[in-house]
Symmetry: C2
Subunit: 201 residues, 2 copies
DNA sequence: TTGTTAACCAAACAAACGTTTGCTATTCTA
DNA sequence: TAGAATAGCAAACGTTTGTTTGGTTAACAA
């Protein structure tokens, strides 16, 4: 239980960065320990000084990603009181973080928990830490009564998470900015897209 | 160029079915040729009588999935004239096909083209065959003028595709039915979710 | 300055991987 | 019914995989 002192030449962080970048672009199965080792300037066996297995390394990257997006989320969302605006800020943070700020968060979006069976339960728990925050924002939205079937906030939440996660596959820097994408998403949801006449067709 | 006659005991289809099921649940990297061989009752080497490589086998499954979802799409959408209803039908078809009807389509949703570099261009082309249909439906939607920033139909299309693709990760049979999910998606988009007062806040 | 140990290196391990090769049996054609 | 092509089987190929083991060096506490 005694704390283990880390030395100044500890390259654990460089290792995580390299793993992060490779997992985010190549996925779990598409990235080998040798790739990671080469990218972080170590030999393959040296990784095992830091993590006992590939699955544990992935988990460390994944958890670091969740930490980062949650921290940014909490900080940015707190600065606003309007429910819709809070959601928009959260989505902008998600898209920006996933696509440009941090590969760790890209890993969270790209690697599905069941691709890492040894740690799938832990990965789901980590992901839930973030999704819980989205759930709270969606539950706080003031929704107009539905003209058709009753609104299901669970479906709305999953719809929003799906649309946002998917941005990773099509986002290209230089085109529509993350903030603008998030604004569009919210605009589509909160304003009537249908011309009024055809509602009561 | 001469046509090659196929025999009655040709098990190519059983091979595709097995590959389909495994690729859909395990992904490309998570599925081995030995797994596929065992599931289809062959030896690993025998697969190479039918397909020259793992990437080509994946492509065959993928293309079969696109064929299936496009065929169903065309048939079902043609039966309706209302633009919003046509989109709703298309999304219901997508969700139903991905989650319950065909593993092939699950493969299309799960395997990203860049995970199969040897055929990534062809995979993208196949996927576009389907996405083009969604694009047409979204472009045909009558949209009310936006109260905020001008609507971007490209973003709307990607939002819809993202939300729909994501259903594969959370859909469980016995809960909300595909048709109901599609109806909710469309309801959220075409009806005002925001109470009217707060629009002109 | 000495002793400890954190942080690696160097080299190998067994298993799994995609794939190839040579051969055989079954089905269909002529 | 003879011949040829189809649709495999059986066994191995070389490579890559995640991982282990034993030794080495440099940083830090005393």
């Amino acid at each position: 239980m005694t704390a283990v002192a880390k030395r100044s030449n500890n390259r654990n962080e460089a290792l995580l960065d390299a793993a992060s970048s490779l997992f985010a672009s190549g996925g779990y199965g598409g990235t080998s320990m040798r790739n990671i080792a080469k990218a972080s300037g170590m030999l393959p066996g040296s990784i095992y000084y830091h993590y006992p297995s590939k699955a544990d390394l992935l988990y460390a990257v994944y958890a670091r990603g969740v930490d980062m997006i949650c921290e940014r989320h909490d900080r940015m969302v707190a600065a606003c009181n309007d429910a819709w605006k809070r959601l928009e800020i959260a989505l902008a943070n998600h898209i920006l973080t996933v696509t440009e700020t941090s590969d760790d968060v890209g890993v969270m979006n790209r690697v599905l928990p069941d691709q890492v069976p040894e740690r799938s339960t832990d990965l789901i728990a980590q992901r839930d830490r973030y999704e819980q925050r989205i759930r709270e924002l969606v539950d706080a939205l003031p929704l107009a009564p539905s003209g058709g079937p009753a609104h299901d906030r669970r479906i709305l939440r999953l719809m929003i998470i799906g649309a946002t996660s998917w941005t990773q596959t099509w986002y290209r820097s230089g085109h529509t900015r993350p903030e603008a994408i998030a604004a569009q998403f919210c605009a589509f949801l909160k304003q009537p897209l249908q011309i009024q006449q055809s509602i009561q067709q």
